[in-house]
Assembly symmetry: C2
Homo-oligomer: 268 residues x 2
């Protein structure tokens, strides 16, 4: 048994005992799979924990259901990143046509080998291996776009820019919603604030909410929904087990809570 540690910021780490089941370099990223006694199998990309069997439900439900229930239509859904299939699995529960665009072919491959509960989301999905920036230059329109990306270092860096957010907005149909993960409001407070400011420069309404993800550094993550129409819940989430029934209240209270976390943790 070995130990894997992620030191997200200098001085504070999460460490997982476990066995290394897989490690390989893909086209753009290094992917590892560990087996851990608390969280089951853990996928690590470029040294950052991406998900575990035990808590992926929290992450994917909170990522996917808010934009799906807020969007005017959910016929066509684009997931940027998310090659593991978890976000696609949740979106498929709405009967949507789902496209997943991931830059790294190794991620769906590893997901199919080690994470069957995630990779089943890839079946019946249109999986495209391509840079999302290039993909969005093409013509298609979507009702919901969900950024299920790694942190904005390396290949994902360009996906956290005003240019990218503007491209997403152009591809969204009327009443469409853009959603994604933002980082730790505690350890990444400054960057999360900056990204929110960029999003607010492009979309009329941006709600930011906290999500408990125990395998991520600091244990509390932030996600956003961004849209031009005022947020209102248009449909119920199908059998969501983790999300509170009153999603809009949760998002609005969460928005305030995250802003206060950001101000506490980016204070000098």
């Amino acid at each position: 048994m070995g130990v894997f540690c992620e030191e997200h910021v200098y001085g504070f780490s999460s460490c997982f005992r476990g066995s290394l089941l897989f490690r390989a370099r893909g086209k753009t990223e290094e992917v590892e799979v560990w087996e851990n006694p608390v969280f089951g199998r853990i996928m690590v990309i470029d040294g950052q924990v991406q998900l575990s069997e035990k808590d992926e439900l929290l992450y994917h439900e909170f990522l996917v259901h808010p934009p799906m229930v807020l969007s005017r239509s959910v016929d066509r859904v684009l997931i940027v990143g998310g090659g593991d299939g978890g976000a696609a699995r949740e979106a498929l529960r709405y009967g949507s046509e789902v496209t997943v665009v991931d830059i790294e072919p190794l991620v769906p491959k590893v997901s199919r080998m080690f994470f069957p509960n995630l990779s089943r989301g890839l079946e019946g999905t249109n999986l495209v291996i391509m840079d999302a920036f290039e993909f969005l230059k093409e013509g298609e329109e979507f009702d919901v776009v969900i950024a299920d990306t790694t942190d904005p270092v390396g290949p994902a860096e360009r996906l956290s820019t005003k240019d990218f957010f503007s491209m997403v907005k152009e591809k969204l149909g009327k009443g469409g919603v853009y959603a994604g993960q933002l980082g730790s409001p505690i350890l990444d407070a400054k960057r999360v604030r900056e990204t929110i400011t960029l999003l607010e420069g492009v979309f009329e309404h941006v709600l930011v909410y906290p999500v408990p993800v125990p395998v991520y550094p600091s244990g509390t993550w932030s996600m956003f929904v961004a849209m031009d129409e005022p947020p209102r819940v248009r449909r119920a989430p199908p059998h969501a087990r983790v999300l509170p029934s009153s999603i809009l209240d949760y998002l609005e209270l969460g928005n305030e809570l995250v802003r206060r976390l950001l101000s506490v943790f980016s204070a000098p």
Copy 2:
């Protein structure tokens, strides 16, 4: 510079780089103070991180303001544990008469040496060094009782029993509130559920809510408010910086969220 790790459950640890500033055995507990680049000074009791300078505000505001705004009266407040002074500091903002009963004389001493922003809560407070179980056998009545205890191992074990909860209830005036910390809804799911069941056997209304505490294992903690009257907000928190303005909505949504976390993480 050294490293301190807390392995709350086997296989998953939080590790903090830092310098050890202080370590001594008190009457019942071993107390350490570390200086960490992310969280500032960290107090550790019996190997468990209790608080840091950087995130103690989150913990103490979420622990103290909910019971204070829900209680019919806040004239007399009892804090069980909390010898560091942080909970007392928040309760004093309501003009209450505050009594702190901590079993360990070393905790207030260390707080005065290393945590001035916490220990200032001890000034103007009635500090009693005594077993809380013995203290409650005496006559006094309180409007609010707040359990700011270590986890229920060692000296704090008896404070998580039905006997103790019943003693607290007897000491509470009409419309009074009992509140406290419960543990990680993720790593301690089974024990948290059991404690909620005990509380529900004693009090009419129990709300459980999640609190982001990044220095605690899994990053998400749970706290409760327990009372016999239906929960309603009777007063605003004074200048609370972290709590959402709509505390009751937060508690009610939080209650549902924690129950779902407990069911996800205590599922087989």
